[in-house]
Symmetry: C2
Subunit: 461 residues, 2 copies
């Protein structure tokens, strides 16, 4: 009898948890151990704004796979357990749970160490080494619970960062009756998701409900008795300063991959700061895999290194790492599409592929179409705007952005086109499903590609 394969996973977020599940599916006899420094097994970080909003009735509901579930699958799960050291020579992990020391051998090791919130440099944001009271990041269930406890109708909330999470939280706090201000250092909102021409109408719509300061830095906090009272912000171009009264400050300014352990065993860290992984989710060190927010992979379109910050990609890396670490074979596409979506203030947005400024090396032609979810003659059609960018030489679709009706599902169709290296000329002829209550004869996805095709034809003439 051969010895059972020993797999250790460090981190039980969505990526680490998924790795454990797929390792188990692939090898029913493997010894699988998961170390998680937090209190909870695999839960949805992306669901936190909705648990704070109350749409999801309890934070506990965010847990997708319980401790019991892991135990039933004979996965040795250790919560509130920190990995202190990886002894790579001896292929051993040394962890600590309270005063207890756990040592465990591995054949394959998976790093699912996640990311830490990036803290912008704000004067006086800490007192005695601690964040002021009323200042939070949103990364864990614990963060979510603390924020919820601070929400008071009629009080003032400020959010740093107008990315997806920042705006989801702005929506949540607005619904809860707070006066919301969002501060964004870049000149546009949602800069990683939408080009400026697509995000600008959203910004105008947002400004009817909340205050948004783009191109502003948060530079200094003011406090009383250790509790935040206001935030000083500065316009980046003019240098003009402004004081924003605030009872609650949420920092959603991006994350930084957690790679401390990876570095100790020589995993190559890429230029985005994440652990480099390949299409099997293996790092530069054999039999060591990494998944999720701690990793760096490639952009499918530009082939440039890309830090992973989407749960949906982490889960897919987890499938690959789990299967491969357990002796199976699972090869991911040669890069990520970055298919992403969100919904706030009643608007659905979605995108796939790099935003314009990340495509600057490529000759790109873009086109946009404003359509409706239904034929003109059918009442109740909802607007949908789609922008498509294609490679000027090949016509291949490189990216797409959508705002409006079923933006996410429409972007999935364009994501499939990018995956298949389909050109705008081919895609514009895609037969889309038509029925008056559901969609027009020619869907906006193809009409946007028509616009790009015509521009390309003119350029090539």
């Amino acid at each position: 009898m051969t010895k059972a394969r020993q797999i250790i996973i460090i981190g039980c977020g969505a990526s680490g948890g998924t790795t454990a599940q797929f390792a188990r599916k692939t090898d029913r006899t493997a010894s699988i151990t998961v170390f998680e420094s937090g209190k909870y097994t695999q839960y949805s970080k992306c669901g936190l704004p909705y648990a704070i909003a109350g749409t999801i009735s309890e934070f506990q509901n965010l847990i997708e796979f319980s401790e019991d579930w892991f135990k039933k699958e004979h996965i040795d799960i250790h919560l509130e357990t920190s990995v202190e050291e990886i002894n790579f020579e001896q292929r051993r992990v040394i962890a600590k749970k309270g005063s207890e020391r756990i040592e465990k051998e591995f054949d394959a090791l998976i790093l699912a160490t996640g990311a830490k919130p990036w803290m912008p440099p704000i004067q006086n944001i800490k007192k005695n080494g601690q964040l002021l009271q009323g200042v939070y990041v949103l990364r864990t269930i614990n963060d979510g619970k603390q924020i919820l406890a601070q929400i008071k109708k009629g009080k003032k909330a400020t959010i740093i960062g107008a990315g997806l999470i920042g705006l989801e939280m702005a929506d949540t706090l607005n619904k809860k009756g707070m006066n919301v201000t969002v501060i964004e250092a870049l000149p546009t909102i949602l800069a990683n998701t939408l080009d400026e021409d697509m995000s600008e109408p959203l910004l105008l719509a947002l400004q009817e409900k909340i205050s948004v300061y783009t191109n502003h830095l948060a530079i200094r906090a003011e406090e009383q008795y250790g509790i935040i009272t206001s935030l000083i912000i500065k316009e980046k171009t003019t240098g003009e300063e402004k004081k924003i009264q605030t009872d609650l400050l949420i920092i959603a300014a991006g994350t930084k991959p957690e790679t401390t352990l990876a570095k100790t065993i020589g995993c190559i860290i890429g230029k985005t700061g994440g652990i480099q992984v390949n299409e099997t989710s293996e790092t530069s060190v054999k039999n060591v895999y990494a998944v999720g927010d701690c990793t760096e992979y490639r952009d499918y379109v530009t082939n440039e290194p890309l830090g992973i910050g989407l749960g949906s990609i982490g889960v897919r890396q987890g499938i690959a790492a789990g299967v491969n670490a357990a002796g199976g074979t699972y090869v991911l596409p040669p890069g990520v599409l970055l298919t992403r979506t969100s919904e706030f203030f009643g608007m659905e947005i979605a995108a796939v592929g790099p935003v314009k400024q990340n495509c600057l090396q490529l000759p790109v032609v873009s086109g946009k179409y404003k359509g409706s979810s239904r034929p003109d003659y059918f009442p109740g059609g909802e607007p949908i705007v789609i922008k498509v960018s294609a490679h000027e030489k090949t016509g291949c679709i490189l990216s797409a952005q959508a705002v409006g009706s079923n933006a996410a599902q429409r972007i999935n169709t364009l994501a499939c086109a990018i995956l298949g290296r389909i050109s705008v000329e081919e895609f514009r002829k895609l037969e889309t499903a038509y029925a008056p209550p559901i969609a027009p004869t020619l869907d906006t996805v193809t009409l946007a590609c028509d616009v790009v095709s015509l521009k390309l034809a003119r350029k090539r003439r």
Copy 2:
């Protein structure tokens, strides 16, 4: 100065009207003439059930491009004008409007003659050569108006044919308070759209609201004073007969291409009964094009001849014919995907590619996944079932069927995969857009392909 190109289009339905538009877009100076035997310019036939239901407030609203619109575009439009003859030697069309005779020369001719409802052989359905009062087909605005006038709450309506139109009308009449019975000759409903395992749950749901008799033939009508009173139906296997009281009978049993004129000029008629066209929408006769329901093209997946019965395809053929007839170039994909959708009794269904029985020549492996529109932890998720079939050797996706949340948009994504000849193994790894209120981390579209991939892997082992 060269003489302006002369284009004649026979028929101003969606396909013919679209042809005229795209001919005009392609050649601003061409002489474009359209002959239409009916009273109206291009309108949505697919919208008729919704105009009858009152969702669309007036039949007039179904007109997508008015007579004035055509005139403004300098398109010579002749309504209530029948083409009597095509003199192909002289490249001349002879038409008649009342007593007026119109003769017109063409360089390019487009046949957009549509289809006629197929009438099943029902004894006594006619009296003195006319359909009994209370018996209708649904093909024109006039048919729609007549049906609307006959709808009476609490009365009995019978529909022959459980295809998309039959069930859309069943929904409409049910909403209007009629007692609805549907008679279908085949053993299943929606046989051209869904495989039996997909349609069966729908049939059960329908039977809670209306009566459905599958595997039954309508064999005889009964009347009083020329008005229908009941319909005798017969179970095809047992031969058992049953009398259905009926005040209104709608026949929605399919259509037959109208090819009389095409035959007179030698256009090849294919085995489905439609005019054979190629990927430029040209018939076997040079400079004669045909578009829409009168045509036969090919199935993209099976490469078999296929009669065209979908407005969305007719419109795409119209684009091709219009551009090509006017001297441009527009090549359609080498076959149709048959992307289709509908909604009735609150259920959205969609499909792409041939149903199982039309794939019998191919080695096919199918898989099905029942998912939700949202992650489990997020309230309000709606069910979605997707079935995918793939080629056993290549893994290429051949067809897909969906019932439930956003079925149409999800099927569009799979339609793109079929267009791009993408395999289930590739598609299962497609990054789909994820956000808790919008879609789960792994969408049902990819999970259905996972099921097929696993089956394929087992077969190949």
